[in-house]
């Protein structure tokens, strides 16, 4: 296995052996470790000293189910702290199959007029990957739905593509890195924290992979791995959330809209209420029914990446049966729906598609537009106006460029006090005043407001892993800490976070998950060991943030959430600061 360094200052590449201290580090654990070791915490995120690191997970590219995740790490231009964003795509397994443990993009060219692409493919004779560069300037300024087909045409065979859209090229804090899905759509995003702008700052437009002929991932103990894999498959296939034609496969992640709305925790009109009358029209059930009406059949969801047996990615079809958008996630239909007072599903789908095309993060975009509506740029509920503003972001008009800075920047520009961000990153689709544990995660995670970092929604709302009162702050710091540590390990394993639903409820599934990892690595980890592994990842990230000037005082929610009671429960965020501080102090 190798660490591959691509230096964009002079477009050279270098192969290094994987150091012993990285032996068990993969995915998020490795991207965060390399960023912590090699990136000066006080550097400018878009400057020559930042690095962009890609690493697939422990079991990625093995036959482990639902495990094709790729982690992307760097210093974030949005938060100023460390960032790990991940996506499900064939690109992750293809990188791992060529035995590239980490790909580090560093430096940046003097000549900023040009953009470049790199093509990494397996050389059968040398038994090693090779790196080539190509001038990608002709593809710049195009949205990714235009540029992807050109790249598929340019390279022969089955390739996987990582790229950036217009948002990255403009250097927006709101810009992701996009990977291909199984149908060659440029739709699988490592979306959060401005990772797209970091890639663009290095003038790198594409990383194209062709793993044909590569040896694949080595599995030290095949029997143990197979035993674990079988338990994981059984757990995923029997749990009602993840099984075929279960909640996720039928309705997608947007099945959550109605339950958060019932629970009074669906942020509405820029976090001014916890319920939205139009919510059911924007939910997974509505997407399913609309497709049934338009296509004349029940449409179940598809896999975003190879080997996924949950298959939660949806598509909304037009009345003429053409595709309108794929995929409409819960976070996206909320950010561009309830959060804007919009209940027109077709307009929401248009906005999702435009975000994908321009390279924008749907959460940051929706929250930014909510702040813009609060600031009087357009009224709440004006979906056509919102579509126009997304076009402005994609086209780089002066207004669009200002909105591209993200929700916190928009709040400052527009004099808005109600700005739902932590560490500069927009909050996702769960109201902290109605679901206290997720508020603790938003406040304390190293990532800036991020639900995936410690998804306490499982016990607080969904009844997965027990049931806890979402309105009570009691015991929630410990809950968030446990979820954050476990998640940091899942993010390093290469599995999709959605395996948490079955393995939190089905003990043999959790056991199988650890056996898979032990089987690949030849380790002898227990459940306690993997939580300790996750906690260590968090400590590395935390230390980077502290050195970057982001200390415990930044682990707070915005003041308005302490002052304004949120209907319908009329609660404020009442978790004491000491409880927030205890998340890391007692880790």
């Amino acid at each position: 296995m190798w660490i591959l360094r691509i230096n964009m200052t002079d477009r050279t590449s270098k192969w290094e052996a994987v150091p012993e201290r990285f032996r068990t580090l993969y995915g998020r654990a490795l991207t965060s470790k390399i960023v912590a070791e090699e990136v000066p915490p006080l550097c400018h995120a878009l400057g020559p000293n930042n690095k962009l690191v890609f690493s697939a997970g422990i079991v990625t590219s093995t036959p482990a189910p639902t495990s094709a995740r790729i982690s992307v790490g760097c210093k974030s231009p949005l938060t100023g702290g460390i960032k790990e964003a991940n996506a499900g795509t064939s690109w992750g397994p293809d990188l791992a199959s060529m035995r590239i443990r980490a790909l580090i993009v560093e430096g940046l060219p003097q000549d900023t007029d040009k953009f470049w692409g790199t093509f990494i493919h397996w050389d059968k004779d040398a038994q090693k990957p090779v790196v080539e560069f190509f001038d990608a300037s002709e593809y710049t300024g195009k949205d990714v739905y235009e540029s992807y087909p050109m790249i598929y045409q340019r390279f022969e065979g089955r390739i996987s593509i990582a790229s950036i859209g217009n948002a990255g090229e403009y250097g927006y804090g709101n810009s992701g890195i996009v990977f291909n899905d199984q149908a060659k759509r440029p739709s699988r995003y490592a979306g959060r924290g401005g990772v797209g702008a970091v890639m663009a700052s290095k003038r790198l437009k594409f990383i194209v992979l062709n793993e044909k002929g590569s040896p694949g991932v080595e599995i030290v103990d095949k029997a143990l791995f197979d035993e674990g894999r079988k338990k994981m498959i059984d757990a995923i296939r029997t749990h009602p959330i993840s099984k075929p034609k279960g909640g996720l496969n039928t309705y997608g992640t947007a099945v959550l809209v109605n339950i958060l709305n019932e629970a009074g925790g669906l942020p509405t009109r820029n976090f001014s209420a916890g319920r939205f009358d139009g919510a059911p029209k924007t939910a997974g059930e509505a997407i399913f029914e609309t497709n049934k009406e338009r296509t004349g059949k029940e449409v179940y969801n598809h896999a975003c990446s190879p080997g996924c047996i949950i298959q939660c990615s949806n598509t909304l079809f037009n009345p003429d049966k053409s595709e309108r958008a794929s995929c409409i996630e819960y976070e996206s239909t909320w950010a561009l729906g309830a959060n804007l007072g919009v209940d027109d599903l077709d307009d929401i789908a248009t906005m999702v598609h435009l975000c994908n095309a321009y390279g924008l993060d749907t959460i940051e975009t929706g929250v930014t537009l909510g702040v813009a509506m609060e600031g009087g740029v357009i009224p709440f509920g004006d979906s056509k106006g919102a579509i126009q503003l997304i076009h402005e972001m994609g086209k780089g008009t002066p207004t669009g460029k200002m909105l591209g800075g993200g929700a916190e920047v928009a709040g400052k520009l527009l004099g808005v006090r109600r700005v739902p961000t932590v560490k500069g990153q927009a909050m996702p689709a769960y109201e902290p005043r109605a679901v206290k544990g997720i508020g603790i995660t938003y406040a304390t995670t190293t990532m800036g407001a991020d639900h995936t970092a410690g998804y306490t929604i499982c016990p607080e709302i969904l009844g997965v892993s027990g049931k806890q009162d979402p309105l009570s702050p009691e015991g929630k710091a410990a809950l968030s800490r446990a979820f954050q540590a476990t998640t940091a390990f899942i993010d390093s394993s290469g599995h999709c976070l959605f395996i948490a639903f079955p393995i939190l409820d089905i003990a043999s599934g959790f056991e199988g998950f650890i056996q898979e990892c032990n089987g690949v690595l030849g380790t002898n980890w227990s459940a306690d060991d993997v939580v300790a592994y996750g906690a260590e990842v968090l400590k590395v990230e935390r230390a980077f943030n502290e050195a970057a000037g982001i200390k415990a005082e930044a682990d707070r929610l915005p003041e308005f959430m302490h002052l304004e009671p949120l209907p319908p429960h009329n609660q404020v965020f009442d978790v004491p600061d000491e409880a927030l501080d205890s998340v890391f102090k007692e880790m």
Binding site: I241, G247, Y251, T253, L256, G264, E285, E331, T452, F498
Partner: protein, 79 residues
């Protein structure tokens, strides 16, 4: 007493009139519980994972009151 019921996701297939966004009105005797709502619509108990009454999670034996709003869900997840 009168209560209001919303059914979501796969539970709607047991009740044809439970269309998207439609709230059903239901007359129940005083002292009725969440479980009685499930029985009225012939929802298999093992299909109903979560009941929210006026926005608060409640167990199946929770005693309802006049004008209560009830949302019933099968197991759901996402994120």
């Amino acid at each position: 007493m009168q209560v209001y019921v919303r059914l979501f996701a796969t539970l709607r297939r047991f009740v044809p009139e439970a269309k998207i966004g439609v709230t059903l009105s239901l007359e129940l005797p005083e002292g009725a519980r969440v479980r009685d709502v499930m029985a009225h619509y012939r929802l298999p108990e093992d299909e109903v994972k979560l009941a929210y009454v006026n926005g608060i999670y409640q167990e199946p034996d929770f005693v309802l009151h006049d004008q209560d709003e009830i949302g019933l869900f099968p197991p759901v997840g996402g994120g």
